[in-house]
């Protein structure tokens, strides 16, 4: 009754062609489980499903997405860290589970580097400050001035405590001396509702989840936290252009448990990067507001190590801590 099986079978048939080309290895002999440590429907989930679809076609085995949300995306990561290193169980490693959580959680059940074989980076998306259209300040300098004039400080919303968007607000306060009052929400959607309703004047969000509202004019962009202006939003200035030296990208990639055979890691990295190079993937990732960034397995592991080190002092300064 459900066309799902038929779809998978169809995928497998298309996949047969490249599988012959890669006849040197019998892996993978079974379907691959890709654990997405977030609830279905978010940016990460969508991007993972797009990649899973393309990857399955190339590997000759379906790549089945399994959502395992919870505990700031650490539950799913912990599960894969304990899985057998046969390349059949993979996880979407991301900024929350692999860069912020190690500093945020006192008892994390895995080590972000030692317990994983990191395979490939998928996408980087910048954070962005957006405000209600009636919010008076036009630039970050005016935001800082306004926040100092107000006796109670300026309310700024985010999708949740400990998220990279929250930490950007903390950094903004540290760097500029702005008096900000962080208002956490349960996810970006409710926070955006309150910005549009002018309950909170400004919020820190990731570009993919804010892009529709920015294009539709429901909110006004204040600054984007990438190094250069985003091609999709050429009129939106960066933090640096406005004299605030902040760059904050959130990112996610694909990793497996520690000890994956190098042949498997290499094959996965090649195929994932090939999927990323496809025009269809490029176009959809651009629509999401992200940048595709292919890396080698070693470079991705190095990238994560750098991120862990970079976020530790920021998390500490924010005062957030999870027992």
């Amino acid at each position: 009754m459900l066309p799902r099986r038929a779809w998978l079978a169809g995928g497998a048939v298309i996949a047969a062609l490249p599988a012959i080309a890669h006849a040197e290895t019998s892996w993978p002999a079974q379907p691959i489980r890709l654990v997405v440590p977030f609830a279905p429907g978010g940016t990460t989930d969508l991007a993972a499903r797009l990649v899973a679809q393309g990857l399955g076609a190339r590997l000759g085995q379906p790549v089945v997405v399994e959502n395992k949300p919870g505990a700031g995306s650490t539950l799913g990561a912990a599960q894969v860290a304990q899985a057998a290193p046969d390349g059949l169980t993979l996880v979407v490693s991301n900024i929350a589970s692999h860069a912020i959580a190690p500093s945020l959680y006192r008892e994390l059940r895995y080590h972000p580097l030692r317990d994983f074989t990191h395979i490939a980076l998928l996408i980087e998306t910048p954070s962005v400050f957006v405000a209600n259209p009636h919010f008076a300040p036009r630039g970050l300098a005016e935001v800082v001035r306004l926040s100092r004039e107000q006796p109670r400080g300026l309310d700024v919303a985010s999708s949740g405590s400990g998220s990279s968007n929250h930490l950007l607000i903390v950094q903004f306060g540290q760097v500029t001396g702005a008096r900000v009052n962080h208002v956490p929400y349960r996810g970006a959607g409710p926070a955006m509702t309150d910005v549009i309703a002018d309950v909170v004047p400004m919020m820190s969000d990731s570009l993919p989840s804010a892009s529709g509202h920015l294009r539709g004019g429901a909110v006004r962009g204040m600054a984007v936290a990438s190094a250069a202006r985003h091609p999709g939003f050429p009129a939106l200035p960066t933090f640096r252009e406005q004299g605030v030296d902040l760059v904050s990208n959130s990112w996610f990639g694909i990793s497996g448990p520690a000890g994956l055979p190098p042949a498997v890691t290499g094959r996965l990295n090649r195929e994932i990067n090939a999927v990323l190079a496809e025009p269809a993937t490029q176009r959809r990732f651009a629509e999401l507001g992200g940048l595709v960034s292919p890396l080698s397995p070693a470079a991705y592991a190095e990238f994560i190590a750098g991120e862990v080190a970079r976020w530790a002092p920021i998390v500490q300064a924010s005062g957030a801590r999870v027992e």
Binding site: R4, W7, P40, G41, G42, Q53, K68, G162, P184, H213
Partner: protein
């Protein structure tokens, strides 16, 4: 008459063979998963998301929407027949619907559920088409303080009007709120009452709680009372509504539709509140309020109408603001984004096919559900004639798989066992589980809005009284409480409810 023209355009889109076919597939799948406990629309839609990649956006969204409201219909079926609420909205249906089934009126309860849902769906579709943007501004005028007061009012009234001892019911509501607080604190990220169990960091699973306290506890209680089971075997009664039942259900359906249409628009708690809200209203204003608790048809018609109306109007924030009101709507946003469409204020102009096609297909989907479900009522009622000794292992097995499949984790099944034991104990002590579930659902949202309101007002409690919406909610709540606490009035209420 622009709306008529737009709707006509919408129907021309929705009535294409391909779109009709996918609406039918969606409605069928939705009904099927609604009947199965545990596996809800969120899990199914996320499973089916990949097959929508290959379809046009309108077709994809029509199918997903079909699953969503199909699941609402299907969920009522198990709630009425087996006391198994798979979703928040069907908890209320168990209260009177299951009692009706025990009285041999299962067919009538199912027919009421289908017909009042259809009526409410039709009205809500017209509302969505005609005044979506206008209603959005209503939703946006609710601040955190107003939400808090609305939810507090909901809890007060649910306890005041619950069966049995009022004080015990409030106690259960409060305990439900406490259970809802288990998990990660949203504002600080601290773990509360989790005992170091990572699975608890996202809170206690609603499915485990509802299934344990209603479904599994009910199996044990049914096995204890062989005489209660024989009632199910012998009396099935007429499948159709009597004229008397139709007369009683009609005004309740109208009121439920109204309540659901309004509350469904509010993001977050709105849809959850609607069926509870309607049930409370029926208990207060219905002519037959003394029959509540024994299988009153008003208690099925009102909430069923309300939850279906809310299911339709919860599309309004999505279609006009691009903001999902619940998890299913978040998946819809996802499906649209994959198609390269950003839901938002400009969608009506930029994607008229999608917007009006979806609205037309909502109504077509409701017609299809009616056609699918009415003939099946006879089949469902036959299920009750299966001897209970054969039925209960099946229910148990479905509950196990259902609880497991929510998070693919056996921890949820263990939670279900613990709540089954607790639910059994509550039944023996005459503690009502339904108010507890309401508290559990609304508690975390209440805390969030309370803390946000206080954060934004910098600790000034006056914000709850200064805002007119909030103040009027609190005033109604205070009157309800006073009515309960004044002894003479309380006696009067009991007389009205029981005599």
């Amino acid at each position: 008459m622009d709306i008529l023209g737009n709707l006509a355009h919408g129907f021309s889109v929705a009535l294409s063979v391909n779109n009709l076919l996918f609406a039918l597939i969606g409605a069928l799948i939705g009904t099927a998963i609604g009947v199965l406990p545990g596996i809800g629309p969120v899990a199914t839609i996320s499973l089916l998301l990949p097959i929508t990649f290959g379809q046009p956006a309108t077709t994809a969204i029509i199918m997903l929407a079909g699953i969503y409201y199909g699941a609402q219909y299907g969920g009522s079926t198990t709630a009425i027949l087996l006391n198994l609420p798979g979703e928040i909205s069907s908890v209320v249906t168990t209260l009177e619907g299951y009692k009706m089934a025990r009285n041999g009126r299962a067919g009538a309860a199912l027919a009421t559920s289908a017909l009042s849902s259809f009526f409410a769906g039709t009205v809500a579709t017209i509302v969505v088409a005609g005044s979506g943007p206008l209603l959005t501004s209503v939703a946006l005028s609710f601040g955190p303080a107003d939400y808090f007061s609305l939810m507090l009012l909901g809890l007060i009234i649910s306890a005041v009007l619950a069966q049995g001892s009022v004080v015990k019911s409030i106690g259960m509501v409060v305990f439900g709120v406490a259970l809802g607080l288990v998990g990660t604190d949203v504002q600080t990220g601290q773990q509360r009452f989790t005992f170091g169990i990572p699975e608890l960091s996202d809170g206690i699973s609603f499915v485990a709680l509802a299934m344990g306290m209603f479904g599994i506890a009910e199996i044990i209680l049914n096995l204890e009372k062989p005489e209660a089971r024989s009632v199910l075997k012998t009396e099935v009664g007429s499948l159709w509504l009597t004229r008397e039942e139709l007369r009683r259900a009609t005004p309740s359906t109208l009121r439920g539709t109204m309540v659901g249409t309004v509350l469904g628009i509010l993001p977050g708690g709105g849809a959850a509140l609607s069926s509870f809200g309607s049930y409370m209203m029926e208990r207060k204003v219905s002519k037959n309020r003394h029959l509540f608790g024994t299988g009153a048809i008003e208690g099925v018609a009102g909430p069923e109408a309300a939850n279906n109306a809310a299911a339709q109007t919860s599309f309004i924030p999505l279609l006009t603001l691009g903001i999902p009101a619940n998890a299913v709507m978040a998946l819809m946003v996802g499906a649209l984004i994959i198609q390269g469409i950003q839901p938002g204020p400009r969608m009506v102009e930029a994607q008229p096919d999608l917007f009006w096609g979806l609205i037309a297909s909502m109504w077509i989907g409701n017609v299809m559900l009616l056609i699918i479900n009415l003939p099946m009522i006879g089949m469902w009622v036959k299920l009750l004639q299966v001897p209970y000794k054969f039925l209960y292992p099946a229910i148990l097995v479905f509950c196990c798989i259902g609880a497991y499949s929510v998070n693919n984790n056996v921890f949820d099944v263990y939670s279900t066992i613990i709540f089954a034991v607790f639910g059994y104990m509550c039944n023996k002590l005459k503690l009502e589980p339904a108010p507890m579930l309401i508290g559990f659902v609304l508690g975390p949202m209440m805390e969030e809005h309370l803390r946000r309101a206080m954060l934004l007002s910098r600790g000034d409690v006056m914000v709850f009284i200064e805002r007119p919406i909030s103040a009027s909610m609190l005033a109604i709540g205070a009157i309800a409480l006073a009515a309960m606490l004044l002894p003479n009035l309380r006696k009067g209420k009991e007389a009205a409810l029981t005599g």
